[in-house]
């Protein structure tokens, strides 16, 4: 990787991200929407690779593209058993479209008007995964948040099992 981000690679990945997201929102079949989301996650992992964030890209692939996609497909299979349930009208809402378009315009204008982000040159230094791991597990670094994160995951695991367990209806 050179010291700047390639515009062509970024353009391709951005097209894949936005195209997949639009495909997800407009697809009538929920299963298709899940696969569009999978495509967006893989493209986002490509964006992370473009930004020299190898670890985040790998975690993105492992967590979103594998675990979350499997969870999605399984819950679609369990809750929408017939094909007719998965295919549904397009749920268009003009209010939601107007709100999100307004939000998007506002954010784009802010990004454009905020002078600090303009023409920010790409710093040449990009620490590798080893430096990332050392910072993550050092006591003065991020080891405490890391432990709290594992606690959150354990709590979520127990909570999900508790909610979905066979019980009185």
């Amino acid at each position: 990787m050179t010291e700047t981000v390639s515009g062509i690679a970024f353009g391709v990945l951005a097209f894949l991200c936005v195209g997949g997201a639009i495909g997800m929102v407009v697809s009538k079949n929920i299963v298709h929407a899940a696969f569009w989301l999978l495509e967006v996650t893989v493209a986002a992992a490509g964006v992370f690779l473009l930004l020299d964030a190898d670890y985040v890209a790998i975690v993105q692939l492992l967590v979103y593209a594998v675990a979350v996609a499997i969870l999605m497909i399984f819950s679609i299979m369990i809750t929408l058993r017939r094909i007719e349930d998965a295919v549904r009208p397009r749920d268009f809402s003009a209010v939601a479209a107007a709100l999100s378009a307004l939000f998007c315009a506002g954010i784009l204008w802010t990004v454009h008007a905020f002078p600090a982000v303009h023409a920010q040159p790409l710093p040449a230094v990009a620490p590798d995964v080893a430096a990332f791991g050392k910072l993550l597990f050092s006591a003065e670094g991020w080891s405490l948040p890391f432990e709290i994160a594992s606690l959150i995951l354990t709590a979520a695991l127990i909570g999900a099992v508790w909610w979905t367990k066979e019980g009185d209806e």
């Binding site: 990004v111 710093p123 999900a160 909610w163």
Partner: protein
């Protein structure tokens, strides 16, 4: 042709808005969760891009992105568990049917 941090922020803004539209307009609970996932991906793109361009040595944004992923993985697991629990109770998982607590 090379790009700076601005196109990344714009990409994230567009992705977030599409996710927001989905979260506001969809009536299937699974679609709602997928839209939330899209929004958290957009947030992660923002964090990673700003980390690479602004704090490349200390990598704060990367750590924040990893912890965001942890939280959204927990959220998606709990959310889908909730969808299954609702389905078992009501035999449907439409958002519009979940109005029992409405005053």
């Amino acid at each position: 042709m090379h790009v700076g941090v601005e196109p990344f922020l714009m990409l994230a803004a567009v992705l977030f808005s599409i996710g927001l539209y989905g979260a506001l307009s969809k009536k299937a609970t699974v679609m709602l969760l997928m839209s939330l996932e899209l929004m958290s991906i957009a947030v992660n793109i923002n964090l990673v891009a700003l980390s690479r361009f602004v704090t490349p040595k200390t990598m704060e944004g990367l750590f924040f992105a990893v912890f965001t992923m942890v939280v959204s993985a927990a959220e998606i697991g709990l959310g889908l568990g909730l969808v299954l629990a609702i389905y078992r109770q009501a035999r449907t998982s439409e958002v519009t049917n979940l109005s029992e607590l409405k005053g």
